[in-house]
Amino acid sequence: MINFDYTRADGVTSAVRDRASELTAKFIAGGTNLIDLMKENVERPTRLIDINRLPLATITETEGGGLRLGALMTNADTAYDKQVSKRYPLLSQAILAGASAQLRNMATDGGNLMQRTRCYYFYDVATPCNKREPGSGCSAINGFNRIHAILGTEAGTPDRSIHCIATHPSDMCVALAALEAVVRVTGPDGDRTIPFAEFHRLPGNTPHIDNTLKDDELITAIDLPANGFSKNYAYLKLRDRTSYAFALVSVAAALEMEDGRITDARIALGG
């Protein structure tokens, strides 16, 4: 790990200001992904801005009848929350399919969206990787790529990237995509919202950019729309062992039924 400075943010505005004035700094929440990557020298922030004391660990009702998950809610507290598990059981199920009890107690909802790929080469600074080191090449395309993307990698597929075949490893995000959640962010230019499907990017020619959050923006919350598809839903995760492993393939599916007919259907794929 390289040396870095540490600041404890005491307000959302000052956290964003600190980040905007030092773009090589990073926010730290649960630390479960960032510290891991710093130990491998993949992430090399000059400063960590600890956001854990910000008042973003709440779940509140939205005006539209949905729920707002504060960015600092832990994955465990979100999954076991009475409202979430009753109204959005698909989300609870997806979160509980990920990581371990210890990690879910640490990991935050904001950090879960921002976690980076588990591609082995991305983690190994001795190998070429366009996501880590733009222009260095992709070791996975002709290497070990069992955990990598299946869809969108064939020649001729629209939006295919010849530079990176990594996936986003989150389980929670697959459910959030199916539920059509909205990410709330704040930055020096004020607040804005990002529809979930527009949050994570395809690799294209710039695989080092994972998402559409700007460097100086902070995720404050994730909004769940009123309809939680709590009657007909399933999260299926296939992996090498039945617990504590990342998905090889995962599916979040949800149906809205009326008089035996499907009136709305959602399917999101992950892993």
């Binding site: 040396n3 479960t32 371990s100 210890q102 107690n105």
Partner: protein, 176 residues
């Protein structure tokens, strides 16, 4: 040598020695002041600076659970958090579990059920089991297995670990 605008910048390019700062940790009920570099993990602070070597380092990457401790009653992996981030929290390690009257029931149950061989994973298993019981989400044997999956046992004492936890939880037999 005089410095002019043309002089190469006098930036120290060599890896700098991390400056330490005072970090106050509350471990097993006692507040301790330590001088730590910001990069010191909670695990390293416990083992290297407080001589609390009961907490083990297996993988240092969140993949094995040997480093499990309780923070405000909840189990976490101490290898993936920085000591400085834990100021103000109440940390409990395996050394802090036993009471003056004796071992906790779960500790005794690990002995009675032969729930270890080499013992390297055991402090993490026991802290994790305490966390599991505090959380209260395990209702069945399968729940115990699933919610203990963050603790790897290289010796494969899993079945006896589940037996030990089950014996302390006194779950209703019909659910098991």
């Amino acid at each position: 040598m005089t410095l002019t605008d043309e002089s190469p910048p006098m930036v120290n390019q060599a890896p700098s020695v991390p400056a330490t700062q005072t970090v106050t940790l509350t471990v097993n009920g006692t507040a301790v002041e330590l001088q730590l570099a910001p990069w010191t993990s909670l695990l390293d602070a416990l083992r290297e600076y407080m001589q609390l070597t009961g907490t083990k380092k297996g993988c240092d990457h969140g993949q094995c659970g040997a480093c499990t401790v309780l923070v405000n009653g909840k189990r976490i992996n101490s290898c993936l958090t920085l000591a400085i981030m834990q100021e103000g929290n109440s940390i409990t390690t395996i050394e802090g579990l036993a009471q003056p009257e004796g071992l906790l029931p779960i500790q005794q149950a690990f002995i009675d059920h032969d729930a270890f061989q080499c013992g390297y994973c055991t402090p993490g298993q026991i802290c994790s089991a305490v966390g599991l019981m505090n959380e209260g989400h395990a209702k069945t044997t399968d729940d115990i297995r699933e919610l203990m999956s963050g603790n790897i046992c290289r010796c494969g004492a899993y079945t006896n670990i589940v037996d030990a936890i089950q014996a302390v939880m006194h779950p209703q037999p019909d659910k098991l």
